[in-house]
Each structure stands twice: as structure tokens, then as C-alpha cells.
Amino acid sequence: MDLVFNLLPEALPHWARVGLAGVVCAVILVTLMALGPIAYVYVETKIAGFMQDRIGPKRVGPHGLLQTIADAVKLMFKEAIYPAGADKKLFILAPCLVVVGAFLSFVVLPFGSRLQAADLNVGLFYVVAVSSISTVGLIMAGWASNNKYALFGAMRSAAQIVSYEIPAVMVLLTVVTLVGSLSLQDIVWAQHGGLSRWFLFRYFPLMPVAFVIFFTAGLAECNRAPFDIPEAESELVAGFHTEYSGFFFAMFFLAEYTEMFVISVVASVLFLGGWMAPHPLLQQVGPIGLGPLWLIAKAWSLVFVMMWLRWTLPRLRVDQLMYVAWKVLLPISMVLVVAVGGLALWPPTANGFPWDRWAGWILTPLLFAYLAYMIVAARRWSARRTREMAA
């Protein structure tokens, strides 16, 4: 926001400059971020298709690119049905709250060294707090629908989100102990110096476990598979948004995908170095910083992993969900908090284990090499099969 503030003419009074800068930032953020879900829905349907040996949408627009736009237009024109006996005010307010909860987190996400709407010194705390507003919206949606199935779904969903907040926040604590500050920019700056300084590879193997826990808890926060029992289509109920149609449903959808993106960005900021490039040489191209590009690349890879998991795994039942949160993730995260905190305070390991430096530079190329090898193997198998079928 300082950028925009500085760009505005000095002739304006201070309060006007601040206000205008805020509004401009908000408009930019909301516009850019609202376009995201359009792309994510398309990518999700395409990925679902490709993983299932079929092509996803292909008719609407070249390669089906306009499919989401068509879906969004359809949803906008659909009749918004209000169930009989529903509490109308709450019914309309609920999706708004859910969307607001997702979008408010964008204020503190650092897209570059100066590209941040507001560098709050309690940034991380703010993100966690604000993402809980969606929970209130969810419960409101279930209650206001006057539908016992929706209420079921809303209660399950609320229980799930609240339970998974705790391991997520515990794991955030480990990162905060390493940095000493809750501000997201400080966390990114603490990881500068290349791939090996990223928190993912600190205290190897402790921090990777922390990353996995945070990612899993984040999946549960978004109601994504394998934790999507609240919105499961083949279960008894369609969850808290059973009674919503048309534009309200689109808002829930929007909120879910935006939340996915927010969790991915927070995970990238905390563990994958935020807008830092893997090597300092790749950070700038001349005077232009590539920070935002790096952050978007990392966030989008994590979003891709979320989609990958959805189409691979079955669903967990509600009580099994709770078991995982309270009896698996929580104990491990508590142990991690104590361990990482202790290691950080002990002078010999204050800057990490001695093998951390190589962990990143060995494992990352290995991972990419393995993925590339699988691609090559798949293509070769396909070519061989096509030859066999033609024979």
C-alpha cells in the first residue's frame, strides 16, 4: 500500500491519500483474486478429466476455456430459491460472510517486498483470526436453511474447521519461533538466501512434517477432499449449501476456491520462502523483481497438489476426521512446537541442523527428476499401447 500511497499526489490531505490508497489496493486485490477461482475451476475439471483418462471440458471455447464463464453465467441467471420458513436475512447474509472471511486474508499476503496491502506486525495472527469468520457464515447457512440435512452438514463442517484450526496454529507457532515475529514480510525475509534457507528444509526432518501437518489442516479448513464430508455429493446430504441455488451457490464456490488459494499462499510464505526465488540470482530481471511470480508459482503448485489429492483419495468419515485432527495431528504438532522451540534456543542448533544446507538442494531436484521420469514413462507406455492397438 505504501507504493500506492507514494504515487498519489502530495497535494491531497493525508487522510484522503490513505483512504484512496486503501480503496485502490482493495479494488486491485479483489479483482485479481476474484478472477482466480474462474481459472481454478477450469483447471480442476481438466485435471479431474486427465487423471481419469478422459478429457475434461472441450466444447465451450477452445479447449473448453470458457466453460467456467458459462457456468458462472448460468449460476447468475438461475432463480434464487428461498426455502419456506427460512430466515431470509440470515440466509442472504451467510454466503456473504463466508466470502468475506476468505477475501479479508488477502490484506496481509506479501506478493513482493513492497507489494502488500498492509504489513501488519500481527499479520499471521490476523490471517488465522479472519479465516474463522467463514465458520460463522457456515453455521448461519445451515441454520437459516430450515433443513435438517443442511444443519447436519453445517454442524459437521463447523466441528471440522474448528478442530483443524488447532494443529494448524500450533504448526504456525514453530515457524514463528524461528523468526521471532508474526509479520509475514519478516517471515519471508528470514528465509532469504536461497532454497536451503527455506523453512521447509530447516531442522530436517522436523519442519517438513510441520509443513505436511499445516497443509493437511489447511485442506480440512477448505472442506476439500479427503475432508469434504460436509459437501459430499454422494453422501446423504449436500451439506450446508443444500438449499442454496444460483448466485449464492456461486458465492460458496468462490469462497472455497479463494480459501484454497489463501491457504496455499500462507503455506508458501511460511515454508517455501514466500516471494523469494530458489537462488538469489533468479530474483531480479534487471530492475524488475520477480517476487510475485515466484509466490504465485509456489501457491499454484500447492493448489494443484490440493486438486491432485481430491481426485486420488476417498473421503474420511466425520468421526475419523476428528480422530485425525485430535489424535494424530495435534500430538505431533505439540511435539514439534516443543522440539523446534528447544532446538532454536539451544545455541549449537540455533540456525538449523548441519545437513539442512544440502537437504534442499538434493531433495528438490530428486523430486522433480522423479516426476519427470514418471511423465516420460507414461508417454512411452502410451506410445507403445497405440502401436499395439494399431497392430
Binding site: Q52, E235, E388
Partner: protein, 389 residues
């Protein structure tokens, strides 16, 4: 008796506790494997009683069979269990052949075995695939359906139809296998053994989440299974190794080597939903084994006329017969009464394996969560066409 249909529900109003809820999984539901209506009486999330309502797909098959001639019943039998149609027509053909005393030659028997086992793999593809989809894993369903399409292509090549074949006739089969069928079948088996089966096991059956969802629910003891007349994979999942292909061999099954797959209780008590699904998945492998042997046998035989023993007019003498076979869903039995006059059967009664499997539903459903009800129906592998006929 709580069969009073008061207010559309199956329970009398004074029977219902005040803090229990009646939940209706209506005839239109994505996971009930057909048009099945289940009424659940739940206490929060736990089911206290369940009552299935069937009959939405009743098409008067047994009555129709009285007004068409014996070969004309076969298209009707196809449509009962529409997912595994070869098994139905095979059962009927066996019954009428037993009634008339016709013995088919080894060539026709080998072809029948090949078709029956291919159909078993295809049917289990649907069973395991849709079960995975009900649990939430969408991808294995499509992979298995892709392979079912390969089998259906083989069927289409042989007899011209993909789903309802009218293939097993009284005294033979309708079409001989085309040239190159053996090669195509081997190609399919190669891909099945190398890719489909291992991937299904890795992606679905061995997945920890899948195991957790299915291994502790729907536990059916062997005594309960036998007393409710469960057959096929539902019975073998609980332990008793009863398979009609082994115990009462027909169409030459005694010549093939295969294992009878039995639920082992690997990840939980024996007889759970996981075990029934495990039996189906491993049976696909056993069917592939039988197919390898059958295709090898077919290759060595010289072609014979598949219509050789088909009678010009099927007019059995007065009598009755009951013949049973191992359909993919269990023991399928046909009871045919011929009155000696006319070319139509006097009575055809079908013992449907899914019908008896559905009868155990209300026993196993007590005490489960609502989410598990879906898992239970899927593990019983019901096809409403066969239940309702």
C-alpha cells in the same frame, strides 16, 4: 406388526421415539445402485432401524415369461441384472437344457466359460468402481470403467450388442467367436494383469482411508450370512468358501484351476464391508486366471457349429426343473415349470441373489452411522433390476 403404512411411513406413529428422526433416502439418490428407497430411523447420526422399499423397477418379468416362447424369454432375462447379462441368460439356458436333456459340446462350453468370466470381470469392475465412488474416490471408478469398455468391445465384436446380448441360447450360443478373438482377448488380459488390477489394488483397495471407512462396519458373521441365504461374494466375504463353480460345476468348470476367494479379515473383523469388496476385487484376478486357461483351450479346439444342439422348436415335455449357477452377484437360480403343451413356459421363477442380499440390510444397518449406510449398500452390490425383476 409395524407394517402399517400410516402417513406413508412404515412405522406406526406411537412406535417412534420423540427424539428420533425419520430420514428418507428416496428412490432418486446417486448412491443406491438403482431405484431403492430406504427409510432410516436415526438418533442423531446413529441409525436405529432401516427399512428398504423395493419394487420401483418391477417389470413383471415372470409374467412376461409366460407369454413368450422359451427362446424369447432370454432377452427378458438379460434385463434383470443388466450389469451382468451373460450370467442371467446362462442360468436360464442351463435350466431349459436340463429340462430337455440337452448336452452341449465342449466347444460351446468353452465359449460359455469365456463369456461368463469376462462378464464377471466386467460386473466386478462396476461393483468395485461404484463402491469406490460412494466412498469418495472418483478416479478408480473411471479407470475400471475404461477397462469394462474393453470387455464390452469384445462382446460387441462377437454378438453385436454391448450390454444386453441375448447370447446364451437353449442348446448353444447365438454367435461363434470371430476370427482373432483369441488374440484380442489375450491383449485385454495382458493389460488387465499388468495395469488395471495392480492399479486398482494400489489406488483403492490398499488405501488406508478406504480401509478405515470400510473395515469395521457391516460385520456379518458366517452363521448370520447363511441364515439369511447370502450367496456369492457376500457369503464368501464372511468366510464360508462356497462357490457353485467349485461345488456343483457346470459348463466344464471342473477343468479349470482357480482359487475360491474368501474374506480374510485382514484389517478388521471378518465379514466386514471391506471383506466383501476384497472378495470381489480378488475374484477379478481369479476370473482372469480362468480366462487364460479357457482361451488356451479354445485356441486348440477346432471350430464347431455353435447352433448344432439348438432345437428347432423348444417344446419340453411336462416337468419342472431348478438350475442354479454362480452369477457375479451370487447364486442365481431358475425354477421352470413346463406343462408339456404349447411353446411358452408355464412358470419361470427366478431366485435372485440381490434380493436375498437386500434382506440382510436391516440387520446390518442397526447401529451404523448414516455415512456407513451408503458403504453397506455398495458392499452388498445390489442391482435393483434383479431385485425387482
Amino acid at each position: 406388526m409395524s407394517t402399517d403404512l400410516q402417513g406413508g411411513y412404515g412405522w406406526r406413529v406411537d412406535e417412534i421415539d420423540t427424539d428420533e428422526m425419520i430420514l428418507n433416502m428416496g428412490p432418486q439418490h446417486p448412491s443406491t445402485h438403482g431405484v431403492l428407497r430406504i427409510e432410516l430411523r436415526t438418533d442423531g447420526e446413529v441409525v436405529r432401524a432401516a427399512r428398504p422399499h423395493i419394487g420401483y423397477l418391477h417389470r413383471c418379468f415372470e409374467k412376461h415369461a409366460e407369454s413368450v416362447d422359451y427362446p424369447g424369454v432370454i432377452p427378458y432375462t438379460d434385463r434383470m441384472d443388466y450389469v451382468a447379462s451373460m450370467g442371467n441368460s446362462l442360468g436360464y439356458a442351463l435350466a431349459v437344457e436340463k429340462l430337455m436333456g440337452i448336452e452341449v459340446g465342449p466347444y460351446v462350453q468353452t465359449i460359455r466359460v469365456i463369456m461368463a468370466e469376462l462378464q464377471r470381470i466386467a460386473s466386478h469392475c462396476i461393483a468395485v468402481g461404484t463402491y469406490g465412488m460412494d466412498i469418495g474416490a472418483f478416479t478408480p471408478f473411471l479407470h475400471l470403467l475404461r477397462d469394462r469398455e474393453k470387455i464390452l468391445d469384445l462382446f460387441e465384436w462377437t454378438c453385436g450388442a454391448r450390454l444386453l446380448y441375448n447370447y446364451n441360447w437353449v442348446g448353444g450360443v447365438s454367435h461363434d467367436v470371430p476370427e482373432g478373438f483369441v488374440k484380442a482377448c489375450r491383449q485385454f488380459l495382458r493389460e488387465f494383469d499388468a495395469i488395471t488390477y495392480p492399479e486398482m489394488i494400489d489406488l483403492l483397495i490398499k488405501n488406508k482411508i478406504f480401509i478405515k471407512r470400510t473395515a469395521g462396519i457391516g460385520i456379518c458373521s458366517p452363521e448370520l450370512a447363511v441364515s439369511y441365504d447370502l450367496t456369492g461374494p457376500n457369503l464368501r466375504g464372511s468366510g464360508p468358501p462356497r462357490d457353485l463353480r467349485r461345488d456343483e460345476p457346470y459348463i466344464g468348470y471342473e477343468n479349470y484351476e482357480f482359487e475360491v476367494v474368501v474374506g480374510e479379515g485382514k484389517f478388521g473383523p471378518r465379514g466386514s464391508c471391506f471383506d466383501r469388496n476384497w472378495v470381489r476385487a480378488l475374484e477379478m484376478k481369479e476370473s482372469a486366471k480362468i480366462l487364460h486357461q479357457a482361451v488356451d483351450r479354445l485356441e486348440k479346439m477346432e471350430r464347431a457349429d455353435v447352433h448344432e444342439k439348438v432345437p428347432k422348436r423348444v417344446k419340453p415335455a411336462k416337468g419342472e426343473v431348478y438350475a442354479r449357477s454362480e452369477a457375479p452377484r451370487g447364486q442365481l437360480g431358475y425354477y421352470i415349470v413346463a406343462d408339456g403343451t404349447g411353446i411358452n413356459p408355464y412358470r419361470v421363477k427366478v431366485k435372485s441373489p440381490c434380493f436375498t442380499a437386500m434382506s440382510i440390510f436391516h440387520v446390518l444397518a442397526k447401529g451404523m452411522y448414516i455415512a456407513d449406510i451408503i458403504a453397506l449398500i455398495g458392499s452388498l452390490d445390489v442391482v435393483l433390476g434383479e431385485i425387482d425383476r
